[in-house]
Symmetry: C2
Subunit: 254 residues, 2 copies
């Protein structure tokens, strides 16, 4: 993760030029491990002079104007560097920028969030060039660590967005391996949602939306009655259900 070598306070030049804010890209990467939702966080270097040394932060960093063609390419690069995954579900989350969010001066960040299939999580973290990294479980609105910068805010926004979208999209499907049973799919929804769902309703919904395709003669065996194995009809495009799941009371903002 690149870092400006001059971490001096102001980076404007002799400047008739406008002083320009620094720009970063951060990625909130979600995955399910042993039935719980996790985020990938990195521990910042303990170098003095660097802001928030030794603190947990979202993976990300400065845009490389030579390597990165555009914002999404930059996010994908960081994703690949950290997890090795090349084409996960990736969505722009929003951007945060202010005078004060980074002690080095005006910074803005473009935040993305990604959903990684469980398979790829087995490669937990290559201890790459950068510092430590680990999967941290989501607790409540975020995570039980203090995060660097405004990453707490960003993470909470990502969790809120994901939880909200579960209500009417098929996003949790992207947290599963290529093939899965309907029970596993339902569990993924429940994990993200933090609440149990009715089996019958869930299956009708999935069926009517034509989200999945049954694999002929493929069954998950070993645990009692064998379960039909399915795959997604579209590996990349999420499905939008006609109505939100859950009772109208539980739904609220954004």
């Amino acid at each position: 993760m690149p870092t400006p070598s001059s971490s001096s306070t102001k980076n404007s030049c002799n400047s008739l030029d406008f002083e320009r804010p620094s720009t970063t890209v951060d990625v909130v990467m979600f995955a399910v491990r042993d039935g719980r939702l996790h985020v990938l966080l990195v521990k910042r270097a303990d170098t003095p002079g660097e802001p928030f040394p030794g603190q947990w932060a979202l993976p990300g960093g400065y845009i490389d104007v030579l390597k990165d063609e555009d914002l999404e390419a930059c996010a994908l690069r960081k994703l690949k560097e950290k997890t090795g995954v090349v084409s996960p579900y990736l969505e722009q989350l929003g951007s945060w920028g202010s005078k004060t969010r980074d002690p080095r001066g005006w910074h803005s960040t473009h935040a993305y969030f990604a959903l990684l299939p469980t398979a790829s999580v087995i490669t937990p973290v290559s201890g790459a060039n950068a510092s430590e990294a680990d999967w941290i479980p989501i607790v409540g609105k975020g995570v039980s660590h203090k995060l660097a910068f405004d990453h707490q805010t960003i993470l909470e926004a990502a969790v809120a967005r994901l939880r909200n979208k579960v209500e009417y999209t098929s996003l949790p499907a992207f947290l599963l391996p290529e093939t899965f049973t309907l029970s596993e799919l339902q569990t993924a929804f429940e994990t993200v949602l933090g609440r149990e769902l009715d089996k019958s309703s869930f299956r009708k919904r999935v069926e009517d939306a034509e989200l999945v395709v049954a694999l002929k003669n493929k069954f998950r065996e070993g645990s009692n009655r064998p379960a039909q194995i399915y795959k997604l009809r579209s590996k990349t495009a999420p499905v939008f259900f006609p109505r939100a799941i859950g009772d109208s009371k539980s739904r609220a903002a954004k």
Copy 2:
């Protein structure tokens, strides 16, 4: 709208420093004029050397690291400069950044979209310091002009987002003056949606969501039967309806 005085190709300094992308904020401002949805566009200066001279573009420009506290403040500043409106509905739309979207080099922009009440549109455009500006009608997915940079893409994203949100939120209410009749409210929805709605369903929806409050003994007179006048229960917070409007077929992406 500020512009870097050195419009030379590269703006990195002597630089051990990382070369950093330029950052702008653009605002898609919507309003309803004589029954049609409009956007505010500005004509770029005809200065040679400037990219896209004389072309229509979204209002926006570079972040002022001295004046702007954060991104939203920057968007609000531009809104006020162009329209005089100080507290409209404002929502972050997304960000676009790439090596090629601005011929001067790596640029990224933070895009917002705003909904302005019809009253404030009477002040169409102060010909302020900058160049020409005008309200342009939305046709189809966007506007029938060629726009500078990737502003066509951004505008289309804004229109799509607005149209999508009409289905399940009360956003069009922010396009109306403080007080209005239910018919006017419905018309605002229809204007944005581009399709007619059933009166009975619409009113039940609005009623159940407790979106509006009736003003006792206030009626719009002059046109046949007087109509009850209402105001929003909350001037700032949108309401989320329990289900999407319209038949499930018409609904599709994002």
